[in-house]
Symmetry: C2
Subunit: 797 residues, 2 copies
């Protein structure tokens, strides 16, 4: 395990090797231009005609030659050293580079046999690019060797470090674009080096690619004084080496030397840590590559400078089909790479072009790490039942659900020290998962001081106050075949809404690609939720991540709202076993009543939704009204409301329904977990009033059920953006989700109840006023509310 990632030291590359790299680079550049422009005539065996050109020219040339340059050099080093290497392409728009190099290496044809490494294959490679029914212009799930969607920018470093954690033999080359470098997530990403253990983790080699321009203007890092740039990178803990220029020959020499030295340094850092037990801060190498945007492309088009400016960002020659001069320039550009020197008569790359290409899985485009499902080993999971709280009768005791779950996660961590990590923005203890610290510490490479607790370089609990980094690290870790869980305050998980989008889209596409093997699901455990922001107040109240998640493809997303500790255990176990999903679990951390013994919890979670006859009063007949609930606090209020109704309106037949798996509410043709219509009706009835107490925004329940029978009888209470710093019960009152209001809602919907109910209704109004007044005066909820536990009717029935 503890081998070093890069064998050290090596001699510099010789001129012959550099020539091979240059050939490879020219070939990759040729193939990149071909993808952007050509429908046919891929090898230019005949003069270029308008008919050979794609009708819509779509793609990004600007960053592509730089990426090809990097890839050629990385490959040559891998071939020499036998390094296990993958790359992450921050400038993901440079899809042509990822595709060109994978095709040159032979990987592409192995994955997609219909795109062979010959003239016809080259024609197909070109045609499919950014073409209807073809492949995206970005690095994407369809791209072999990629774990990083090239769409939204900012996550390359986080993904790269996530891939390197617990992969001691791996080097991840992370190309960071200078546009991307302006984003917040990327700016935070530099901190990742402070969380990388040279003994246990692999290494990331950042390559900051300054080509100077974004879509239409310069980039910040390319234009600040170089002394500032180097100071900045040194401040992040790196030793930067600058490779800068335009002339290929000296650039090859510089790059080979810089890369060789960087890999030597990585090797030495790892050797010192692994063999000598060296500890303390590490200065990791990195490379700054300054090369012209659109390098080797047309210098001037229509009298305006293009190469070396932002005008190279997308398609440098825009009118090739219509403008003969553009067509001539394109042909000149393509022939400038001398394709006949690069490809043989059949269209295959000549052997000398392939000189830098490593063997088999060492080819960077073929890295198994970039298809993590092939490396995935299931977690060794303890039996979650062993962590159950004892529930002799519903509500007999209380537990903090996440604290109970923490004990289970502690043992998951103990049993899987090489493949499970827990991520969170400094909230592991706050979310009451601190039992995990019995199994491992927080990852911490920086200085430690007396009095520090639970910090270690090889800690497996990753805390950084950046949700972006937590999410990005975890994605990188999962995509390379490992497992994990992200715990977060519910409100602030919106910080990663857009990252979730990208990951969910990645999973949707991956599921359609047989060669991509399933990976572990992305699991969120959201706690410190909307109903218990007692002191944080309004700014910390937002249950809308669920709404955001359910917009994505049904086959990818799952949402669970376990109402107590045992159901949370069952849910967590289920999620850790699942593959290729995003699982969102919302659970409380505050003491709450224990409701289900473990065997019933398991059965309830398996059903996802169920009638709790122990809580209702229907007694085997049809109910007059259904009280439904989802989420721990709404469940508590619903049970209390059912109890009030039982005591005060014993003739009313009340059914209590609890929903754990939110997707059960959707029709079965909209979500694989959806209840069939008959089953839905048997639970919720087709015609009785349903008062639904929901954890989140109430309209989400309507959005999920609008096609259900009886939807017009469904009345939902949930969070409606009311309340701030206050007591727990005042909070539910402010949003009309409290037990008293639920009783009022029932009375309002069962008019046949008559006068007696009118009296009860008034009493409920009075109860609300009493609670409100008590809270305002004493600063806490009335004792009878505070000490509520379900009175446990089961025994008596």
């Amino acid at each position: 395990m503890r081998t070093t990632a890069a064998r050290t030291p090596t001699t510099p590359l010789d001129e012959h090797e550099l020539h091979g790299i240059d050939l490879y680079w020219r070939a990759a550049n040729y193939l990149s231009v071909g993808q952007i422009y050509l429908l046919d005539n891929p090898l230019l065996r005949e003069p270029l005609r308008p008919g050979h050109i794609k009708p819509r020219l779509l793609g990004h040339w600007g960053t592509t030659p730089g990426l090809n340059f990097v890839y050629a050099h990385l490959s040559a080093q891998v071939r020499r050293r036998g390094t296990d290497m993958m790359w992450v392409i921050g400038p993901g728009h440079g899809g042509p580079a990822a595709l060109a190099t994978a095709w040159l290496d032979g990987t592409y044809s192995e994955v997609y046999p219909d795109v062979g490494r010959d003239a016809e294959g080259m024609r197909r490679l070109f045609r499919q690019f950014s073409f209807p029914g073809g492949v995206p212009s970005h690095a994407a799930p369809e791209t072999p060797g990629s774990i990083h969607e090239g769409g939204e920018l900012g996550y390359s470093l986080a993904h790269a470090y996530g891939a390197a954690f617990d992969n001691p033999g791996l080097v991840v080359a992370a190309v960071v674009g200078d546009g991307e470098a302006e984003t917040g997530p990327l700016a935070a990403g530099w901190q990742s080096a402070r969380f990388t253990d040279p003994a246990r983790d692999g290494a990331v080699l950042p390559i900051l690619h300054l080509n100077g321009y974004k879509i239409a203007g310069p980039t910040v890092l390319a234009r600040i004084p170089e002394s500032d740039l180097l100071s900045l990178l040194e401040g992040h803990g790196f030793r930067p080496r600058v490779v800068a220029g335009e002339e290929p020959a000296p650039m090859h020499r510089q790059m080979a030397d810089a890369l060789g030295a960087a890999l030597d340094e990585i090797g030495e850092i790892q050797r010192a840590a692994r063999e000598d037990g060296a500890a303390g801060p590490v200065r990791w190498p990195m490379i700054v590559l300054r090369s012209p945007k659109g390098w080797t492309g047309p210098g001037t088009v229509d009298g305006r400078r293009v190469a070396g400016t932002w005008r190279s960002h997308q398609v440098p020659l825009g009118g090739v089909r219509e403008n003969p001069e553009h067509l001539r320039q394109l042909e000149e550009w393509l022939r400038g790479y001398r394709p006949d020197e690069l490809f043989d008569a059949g269209g295959a790359p000549r052997p000398e072009v392939l000189a830098p290409v490593p063997e088999g899985p060492r080819r960077i485009s073929a890295s198994p790490h970039a298809n993590g499902g092939t490396l995935l080993r299931a977690l060794d999971l303890p039996d979650f039942r062993d962590y159950a709280v004892d529930v002799p009768e519903p509500g007999a005791g209380t537990a903090e659900a996440t604290r109970v779950c923490g004990r289970y996660l502690r043992d998951v961590m103990r049993r899987n020290p090489d493949r499970f990590r827990l991520m969170g923005p400094d909230e592991t203890a706050s979310n009451r998962l601190d039992a995990v610290f019995d199994a491992s510490d927080r990852t911490w490479e920086a200085e430690r001081l007396p009095g520090d607790e639970h910090l270690a370089p090889d800690g497996r609990v990753m805390e950084v106050l950046s949700e972006h980094l937590c999410q990005g690290w975890l994605e990188g870790y999962l995509l390379t075949g490992r497992h994990g869980l992200f715990n977060c305050y519910e409100a602030f998980i919106h910080i990663v809404d857009s990252m979730f989008n990208q990951h969910a889209k990645w999973l949707k596409v991956s599921r359609g690609l047989p060669w991509r093997r399933p990976i572990a699901s992305l699991n969120y455990l959201l706690s410190s939720h909307v109903w218990r922001q007692d002191h944080n107040g309004f700014s910390h109240q937002d249950p809308g991540f669920i709404d955001h998640v359910v917009n994505k493809k049904a086959e990818v997303i799952r949402v669970y709202l376990p109402p107590d500790a045992n159901t949370l255990l069952s849910t967590a176990d289920h999620c850790l076993r699942s593959r290729d999903y995003v699982n969102v679990i919302v659970a409380g951390k505050q003491p709450g009543p224990n409701l289900l013994p473990m065997d019933e919890a398991v059965a309830h979670c398996a059903r996802g939704v169920g009638v709790w006859d122990w809580a209702g009063t229907e007694d085997g007949t049809e109910p007059d009204v259904v009280l439904a609930c989802a989420g721990d606090i709404p469940t508590l209020e619903t049970l209390a409301a059912a109890d009030l109704l039982r005591r005060h309106l014993p003739e009313l037949r009340v059914r209590v329904v609890n929903v754990v798996d939110l997707m059960r509410l959707q029709p079965v043709d909209e979500h694989p977990h959806g209840l069939p219509a008959r089953e839905y009706d048997s639970v919720f009835t087709a015609d009785r009033p349903v008062v639904f107490a929901f954890h989140g925004y109430p309209w989400l329940i309507h959005r999920l059920t609008y096609r259900r029978n009886g939807h017009q009888n469904l009345h939902v209470r949930g969070y409606k953006e009311e309340g701030t710093t206050t007591t727990p019960f005042d909070m539910v009152m402010l949003n009309d989700l409290d037990r008293f209001h639920l009783v009022m809602d029932v009375i309002d919907r069962v008019p046949s109840l008559g006068v007696r109910a009118a009296g009860l209704r008034q009493r409920m109004v009075d109860e609300r006023l009493r609670c409100r007044a008590h809270t305002r005066e004493h600063g806490e909820d009335p004792p009878d509310i505070r000490d509520w536990s379900w009175p446990g009717r089961r025994a008596g029935r």
Copy 2:
């Protein structure tokens, strides 16, 4: 206007002044502890008893003394120099500090007269803090002097710089917490200095407050080698000064000197730029303040170190009511500040305590900039009708809607050079708003090179590839009384979902505070939308920001989907005039048919939803079916479908309804823009099938209309996460939103149509196959689809 913000140079503060600062600091600390703990006995005139203590102890002590320290020193400098200064409190959890200092200054009692600057007022100040019905424990809208919610972390620098832009006389002191400093948005925020013009803008003075700990562990910046830290900050373009220690007296001296020198430097930088015309990179001063977490608080509690550790983060003494030793420690702690030296018999601060406090609006807590509505001047807006495209008949010509809007925005910018900015992540030109560059350039302080276009230090178009910075800058700019617009790719606006949440919550609370005057709305112009990601594909397709937005309070949010250029103009004008909203405008940038002459566009936008009788075939009778649409592409497809129906099923009476203002769909009791039920029915009918073609996720329409009459007849088409790199028409086909599918949907919902319709339905299926095949073969849509424009029936009717 062009005065410098800080008069220079000044002599150092003398010992007497430092003593005043210390008194003020002690007083603020006393008031902070009192807020966290005390219900009564605010001046400790009697021995502390459990009954004086709050039942629930909620608040954050850790960061508070440092904030009080900073505030006291800032005040003393302002008093001396007459600087116009505000502050932004990154560690917003330190609400006690913001409240204590505002109360000491007298500002609090001016804003809230019931909380006077006397013993009873102090009692109320203490009691209300983090108490039901009281005030949040964070800086919040309720807090005078604040523009920055203390909830989610990361936006302090962006807000501070936004406040400083175009405020040449203002200095914004931005306290950055070391927890916050780990976030991505904050890490990106340091770049803001590269966008600050010393001639035209005010200055931001960052104060990085390293107290070493987050909730439960150390922070990165506090634990890296100091040489790395300084290198990092220098790399960001700053000249950092370190103030470090624990002993108050030397800390006061260090801080006074560092702050004095920093303000002197700011003055000199501004003088050089404004008087000498100095250009080129500026090295702005900043301060690193290292002070213990929980400074001056209990050193040891229950045998464990608390002051100087993360255990000070919230409430250092947790059991005061029950634990006599804790109660004793609290009393000792409070009395250690010697309250009798600080407050007079009536509870008012003694004059010597108030020595550092500036006069009137110069008090930092009273800064009018922090209540921007008081400074707001309406925009001088050109008549948007002057930019109208000519529409002799619907569909007679095409325009790129955002390009037309860009001309209007150009003149908004010209007329309001001191109070309007356009923000966007490098997409101004891509979103076709480039006419604005005729009025102003991109803000650019770094190096400029030959060939650069539209870059200038005083440019008013702010482009940085960080949506977080764009949003944060704009928020800071709006909150201090100015105007702006954020243009963004639709998919990636999700990056700021959580920032939007916080701003919408701020607006909701502000609206309930009469002393907070209305500010300009936060306007989003989302283009490059889901339907036209021709080459960017799946990763760039997400219309869900609308879903996210509509979860927030109805009185704050507005969503507009103008279908053509003239309706976009009318909408933009409306939004720029509005106050205290978040307006989301989704509009296309690709050529689309011009539909409404300007007078009709204005009327249509004013109604928000309307029947387009020129497009339908109902001829004054009741329709058989309603075709509704919202968004430019769905409108185009709906008009085409209506045209197909008119030609092939002339007997079918079709009504076409277009929705510009999405909130019109909600019931009037749920949104102020909601259509009354009768009006809704008169547009959509109560019982006819409605086929609704929607821009976004289809279920959003159901969520808005589930309580409407006839909802069971509503059938919505929209984006369902299908499609990737392809042609525009293929994209709508993949999501069943195309004209042919809409016709099929109509046929399926009007069974009485019979055999003739069955033939048409098959033809529609065939048309889809024809289009699909053409696209796959030729890489572009069939010419008859591509060249579609509405045939302009109006003239003939």
